[in-house]
Symmetry: C2
Subunit: 150 residues, 2 copies
DNA sequence: CGCGTATAGGTGTAGTTACACCCATATGCT
DNA sequence: AGCATATGGGTGTAACTACACCTATACGCG
């Protein structure tokens, strides 16, 4: 099926991805609501907890515009979960997760796990696996196009 | 691999989806930029072109919050691509694509096609197929959770 | 040392997304 | 007819996303 892409709506990979992303985000957010945190924030916090890095480094990892990351960090900083300090290079900002941030991560983890388990039980562990593989394959094959070209 | 979901970042389906969605959106947007339209807007316009419907009906199809759709339609209406008129039920709004909107769709289609073809050639037609299948499967299996519960 | 350029972040602007809440209208029941 | 309730949309608020552009700092070269 779908020999040539002629019907945009049904065949648009981006639109489909976005639709599923909306659905997934709502499901995760519903689970995490009890801890008053969104899946986007939890994910960002968890990434930041992997080690202190500059804003640019973290943005590159997440393939997110630096300005986007800057703004997404703001609510986390406001809650005291991350600290944004001036780095060695005084132009740069060093992002680190605070003790409160680590406590928050611990508190949210079981809720995230429940969400993830729900997804896996609804989709089947196997399906989730292939979905992850597909995503990984796409991330490996597609150009990043992030921020500035070259 | 990934027996039990213990490492949130790497195993979070939502985070992975969001990351790939960011990447895809940037790629499509780069192609569509020549026609000064975003893939989200093009997709919405194409959906709306399938037939005149109320805002709620369209929102249900797209699984988008009604307020979200309302706001996403605003720029399209501002460009004169869609018309938002009062429906039979005077509380409702009827969304229809204008002649200009259809012309726009025609003009953008080749750009969208180029984007979609680039994706398919980078990923492989087969991979895109399985990705679409996985997405479809997920959309069929996961609860909508949209708007108001029940 | 000083100047030109490159780099790190922030701001302005704009669009995407959703929840809570409000207003207006429609509907149903008495 | 009249009131209670349900439903369709809009607004307020807040977060996510990115591009263009600006500022400040760093770095390299003469």
């Amino acid at each position: 099926m779908s020999a040539a892409p002629s019907v945009p709506n049904f065949g648009c990979t981006c639109a489909r991805m976005r639709k599923l992303t909306r659905r997934l985000t709502r499901i995760y957010d519903a689970h995490l609501a009890a801890q008053a945190i969104k899946v986007t924030q939890y994910s960002l916090l968890a990434n930041a907890a992997a080690g202190e890095r500059t804003l640019s480094e973290l943005a590159a990892e997440l393939e997110m515009d630096r300005s986007t990351l800057s703004r997404n960090l703001a609510p986390l900083a406001a809650q005291g979960w991350v600290e944004i300090s001036v780095g060695a290079d005084s132009r740069s900002r060093s992002i680190s997760v605070t003790a409160a941030g680590r406590r928050k991560l611990k508190a949210v983890l079981p809720l995230w796990r429940k969400a993830q388990c729900e997804i896996e039980s609804l989709l089947g562990t196997k399906s989730v696996g292939t979905l992850h593989q597909d995503i990984e394959h796409a991330l490996a094959a597609l150009p990043m196009l992030s921020g500035k070209r070259a």
